[in-house]
Symmetry: C2
Subunit: 154 residues, 2 copies
């Protein structure tokens, strides 16, 4: 599952996860290499799946999706069957941008992005709470986003 990455790969990955519009030429210059190895390495990293995908990051406020909510969800039972139903349902909800199964006093922590409180209310009542097996939902509303990045430390 884990793959060996050398220092040059690491430099390339750090650049790409920060700004994927960099051209091969620009990357080559930044890491003091010629075009070919940069090209070959990036293609290899994409091929191997180290780079999963390239995406555009949008400005939520400008698009009028202004409310982020974290919801702690507890299921009636922690059986594989109940979890599986929940997992499948969550993946289909576009409002849910992150869903993690966690240790501790609840089962799942969800990150939900919606337009406003009305939209969240509707989501909560019509979609989240109607998923089979959901027992408890405890929500926290984001008042201010301090930091948000897709860049992981290498």
């Amino acid at each position: 599952m884990k793959i060996k990455i050398d220092d040059i790969d690491k430099k390339i990955l750090l650049l790409l996860q920060h700004d994927s519009t960099l051209t091969y030429k620009e990357i080559a210059k930044k890491i003091n290499l010629s075009l070919s190895p940069v090209h070959d390495r990036i293609k290899r990293l994409e091929q191997e799946g180290v780079v999963e995908r390239y995406v555009g990051i949008l400005n939520k406020k400008m698009l009028g999706v202004g409310l982020t909510v974290f919801s702690q969800v507890t299921l009636i039972r922690q059986t594989r069957e109940v979890s599986q139903i929940f997992d499948i349902a969550i993946k289909q909800l576009p409002e849910v941008v992150e869903c993690n199964f966690v240790s501790g006093s609840f089962d799942y922590l969800l990150k939900i992005i919606v337009a406003d409180m009305e939209a969240y209310h509707n989501f909560h009542q019509m979609k989240l709470s109607t998923i089979e097996g959901v027992s408890l939902i405890n929500s926290f509303f984001v008042m201010s986003e301090v930091k948000s990045t897709t860049e992981i430390m290498l």
Copy 2:
């Protein structure tokens, strides 16, 4: 702050936030338009800041950063001064990929990505708990990532 977006813009944004390697030609074909308007619209959306940036998404497991932790942080006081110190400190920590100021029984919810438990222990003791004003830290460990996307609903 909010900007008006028509249906064509919306289609383009949905495509770009899913896969930014699509060429203008491919996008043009998908939304039944010629190259020029697609080009002009994308450049406008970038210019306006609706598209904030383009990034590569990396595979955490392959890179050996296998532990995700959510930490609820409470400060000694909720004054502007204490918050400001915390905000600045958090922005400088590469382990913290998300930080939100939330309503409820604690002040901040952090998402932290590290290599393993040892790395988290070190981060907790050396970095997070040493930030001035931090009073309580309550951590939840991710056992399984069910969903993770950067795509927001439009």
